[in-house]
Symmetry: C2
Subunit: 377 residues, 2 copies
């Protein structure tokens, strides 16, 4: 990508920013036009609810439906949100123009002030601000990254790949014990894949498990990339996995806990989530595989009873909810898996494998599952 | 450091491991000797409590006192802890012998089993296991790292320094937007400093603030290293800052929120904490400086009222507790600072500076404070 001398931005970023600015201008023009024409200014906001989320069986992802709701200026219940939308649109315009990004918390502070002549604050709290930003993403059809907004950073990567991040070449084969910290924004204009020998990605739930795999040089021995998401992976981590899958064709194998939380993490990685359904095309990985931990492993691996963590009422409720997800409901393997969890009556963490030996999970468990292609898709 | 061909470990690590093994052996020998001699086996465990923590004014750090408590095998209240101590000692011996490390959670699982012939588990939960490991650290006089145990990874680094981590050379000047993820173990045998032009370290509380400084290339413009600790920094982050300070002579400037939590984080970075007082020599940085946010900044920087977050009862209680810490109690600057916070009646986050402009904190606030040497030590 050619760097532009004047601004330090690549031309593709400039194009993208110009497009986003033009969308914001259209939004503002619509308001001005209505006002000048004696009509009530309004925004049309796509609805981000469960009822407006559809399961696209063919694509294998969750998608947002067509339902929208109006946000009117002259409506007591909507006027505040209308003004908040204008305020954040204006902040985003500022950010794009000065070529900077801001955190979600920063956006809250940037927009925060007392409305002139009142004691009313523009935002009650950050949650209110975050919601308006998600509304703007869907209304403008521009991703958070395109709005120059970033979230908390989470997750780490290491393995047989070289990437370019903001112009810096980063060899993920030489990242010591710490690893490369996955940023919040991993779009192609910020991050490019330079050289990749890896044949697959192993994504694990927790950084401590990642540490075990890194120390045992799993990624060298099995020629792969090793990532962790610190629990539920952030949008940055999910997008990176999705790009590794769709652009480089790497299979994504997930090693998560055998509990409803682990199943939910997998579901989000694979199909997307309700709140971010408008992003599924960019985030969901329908081909992702769940390599473990499986409910059968207690017996199959000969674990001791000590690793059992009893299911509580909430776990049982969650397990049943997840079993009813459309993409799991007709999937024999997943029905059996979740039933197995319920029949067991206990959860198991990935760390439970330590019961069999410090490196059992890296040297025996995962290699055996990969070899036997024993996973859930 | 010369790599040993047979094991892949450097000779200094081998020496260290041999020392730790010998300490564990001594511990076990003591038990065996007592038993064979018809005496009751017992461990002597240094006491990790507030009453056994002393403020060493001269060194400027918290230290552990000489008080110890006994752990007896033939005492109903202590037998379990006695056996847990033996169990973890044995696990650590295993780890050292196979040259591997394990997470705190992993150690819990490794030691977890049902005591033969009973329904009693060796550990009720991980907290119980973690406590025994801290006891072992102080009893053996060996740090967690020397026991081959690591914690959750936290924190990121970027800036004008090249390090070696586990044999990999890592140029922290070329880490893109993500940065180098600081590992849990940063001892000299794992991490060496290779080339450092940086003149100081700026440590910020949150990764989102770190993102702002990194994007604005603060570390390039001001020739420094930029770190974040994700809130209260982990032992790994604290140890890294302490090594950068003591070995490379770099001043450590901390940019934290103007609230009791920010003050507490600074106190821990500077003087150490009660629970880890036995580690203060290795973790505390008596020369650390608090560069902001200061209670005077609301007026000094001309911030709007919107950035004020009202102090609640707990904040006020915490502020008074912190003001009474021996190292703050006789420090005029800190007394004034904490009184200023109480007089204000509100907290301010670092993000509050966005009120003045997106890059105000990186382009004006911190540079001005550094230039004027306006900080609290």
């Amino acid at each position: 990508m050619a760097k532009s001398k004047s601004s330090g931005l690549t031309s593709s970023v400039k194009d993208r920013d110009a497009r986003t600015l033009s969308k914001i201008k259209d939004l503002a023009d619509g308001v001005a036009k209505a006002a000048l024409g004696g009509k009530e200014p309004r925004f049309e906001i796509p609805t981000r609810t469960r009822s407006n989320t559809n399961w696209n069986k063919k694509k294998g992802i969750l998608e947002m439906g067509d339902a929208t709701s109006e946000r009117l200026l002259f409506n007591l219940n909507q006027a505040k949100q209308f003004m908040q939308t204008c305020l954040h649109s204006s902040s985003i315009k500022d950010l794009i123009e000065v070529e900077k990004t801001l955190s979600l918390r920063g956006m809250f502070y940037k927009g925060l002030h007392t409305v002139a002549g009142t004691k009313e604050k523009t935002f009650a709290d950050q949650a209110e601000s975050d919601g308006i930003l998600e509304d703007l993403e869907v209304s403008l059809g521009a991703l958070r990254e395109e709005l120059h907004i970033f979230a908390k950073k989470k997750g780490t990567m290491i393995g047989n790949i070289t990437i370019i991040d903001s112009g810096d070449e980063i060899d993920c084969r030489k990242m010591g014990s710490g690893g490369y910290s996955i940023p919040s924004i991993v779009e192609p204009d910020v991050m490019q894949f330079k050289k990749c020998e890896a044949k697959f990605v192993l994504h694990v739930e927790k950084d401590t498990v990642w540490g075990r795999f890194n120390e045992d040089k799993f990624w060298q021995k099995h020629n792969c990339i090793l990532t962790e998401g610190g629990g539920q992976p952030s949008r940055g981590v999910r997008r990176l996995l999705q790009r590794l899958n769709s652009e480089l064709g790497l299979p994504i194998y997930c090693l998560l806990d055998c509990d409803p939380w682990g199943h939910y993490i997998f579901s989000v990685i694979k199909q997307g989530s309700i709140s971010l359904a408008f992003e599924s095309n960019r985030l969901a990985i329908p081909q992702a595989k769940f390599i473990g931990v499986r409910s059968k492993d207690f017996t199959a691996c000969g674990l001791s009873e000590d690793v059992q963590i009893a299911l509580n009422d909430n776990d049982i409720k969650r397990a049943k909810e997840i079993a009813a997800y459309p993409w799991f409901a007709h999937h024999k393997g997943w029905q059996k898996e979740i039933q197995g969890l319920l029949d067991n009556g206990f959860k198991m963490e990935v760390e439970a494998m330590i019961n069999k030996g410090i490196s059992y999970v890296t040297e025996e468990y995962v290699p055996a599952r990969l070899k036997a292609k024993d996973w859930l898709d």
